[in-house]
Amino acid sequence: MRGGVLALLALLALAMAPAAALGAQPRASFNDIEDEVMCDTCNVPLNIAESDRADQERAAIRRLIARGLTKQQILAELKSTYGPGILAKPQDSGFSLAVWWVPVAVVACLVALLATLLPRWRRRGRERGEERAQARAPTLSAADERRLDEDLTRYDV
């Protein structure tokens, strides 16, 4: 019984070994990298670029994959050779930071603008409604008012 359990454990360990190795060192996929790299002469991502330079970049990525480099290593290698502009994802430093904070600033501006304008619009709407209601109310002459009061008194239960 104990021997059987040990044998089963050994088999499990053998089956999981390649998966663990892959987890530690994921093999880079060309398609996964291609859309994260720019064609640096066409200024479009490599996966939609059609040019001799794009083909050259694709060949370079394939060579790096063949060397067994991981995706991160390949991106780092391309960045160190051709500069940060080769990466499709904007950098999180320097002027490129604007790509991240500008949308946040735009949303903040819109929220602030709405927070300011909405209460005003609502207040104005309310005031206009009251004015309209007042304008719609019939005005009674002094004689009509006296007669109405008399009628109401008469029908008072």
Binding site: D40, T41, Q56, C109, T116
Partner: protein, 182 residues
């Protein structure tokens, strides 16, 4: 924050965003200051003389400034550029003409794979040296965004003539003569 201050803050932020947009557009515009100076007949100093670039065929780095005292034909090229193939023989002929007087053609590869550049050199039997500008340390200083582009420098390191696009034999010979004359 007072309510009356919010529109002001929003207006300032909106103005900042518009400013950023304008900066982005202006910063991306091609630098044509060299073109206008050369067109006016001036000889502006060659930019980036101190920029050190790796040598394509061999180890080490070199700068344009190291060639001061020589007439230099600075040519930006890449192996993926069709017109660069057409003008390679023209530049090689210019190199032979310059070599006798101590001048040189200096190639600078632009966004090119080094192995492909070396194959190009071999294929077109190029004898003049080339440097690699993979990270674009030099090309933008010349306003170079398309290939090929050629700049002829006199012995003092000033730009005498320039050609954006495929260079012709006539243009190059005339420009070299002018550069050598002074």
């Amino acid at each position: 924050m007072k309510r009356s201050a919010i529109p002001i803050v929003v207006a300032v932020l909106a103005a900042a965003l518009v400013g950023l947009l304008v900066y982005g557009v202006v910063a991306r515009r091609d630098d044509t200051s060299l073109d206008s100076a050369v067109r006016k007949g001036q000889r502006p100093p060659a930019p980036g003389a101190g920029v050190m670039l790796p040598v394509l065929d061999g180890a080490g780095k070199q700068s344009l400034g190291a060639l001061r005292g020589k007439v230099v034909v600075l040519n930006f090229w890449a192996s993926w550029c069709g017109p660069c193939e057409n003008e390679a023989p023209v530049l090689e002929r210019a190199q032979r003409k310059l070599a006798g007087s101590g001048g040189t053609v200096l190639g600078v590869t632009y966004k090119d794979d080094a192995d492909s550049s070396r194959e190009f050199v071999k294929k077109y039997k190029i004898t003049y040296p080339s440097l690699r500008d993979d990270r674009l340390d030099l090309a933008p200083k010349y306003g170079t965004t398309k290939l090929p582009e050629t700049f002829v420098l006199d012995k003092a390191g000033h730009v005498v003539a320039m050609s954006r696009g495929e260079v012709s034999q006539d243009f190059l010979l005339r420009a070299i003569d002018r550069a050598q004359a002074d």
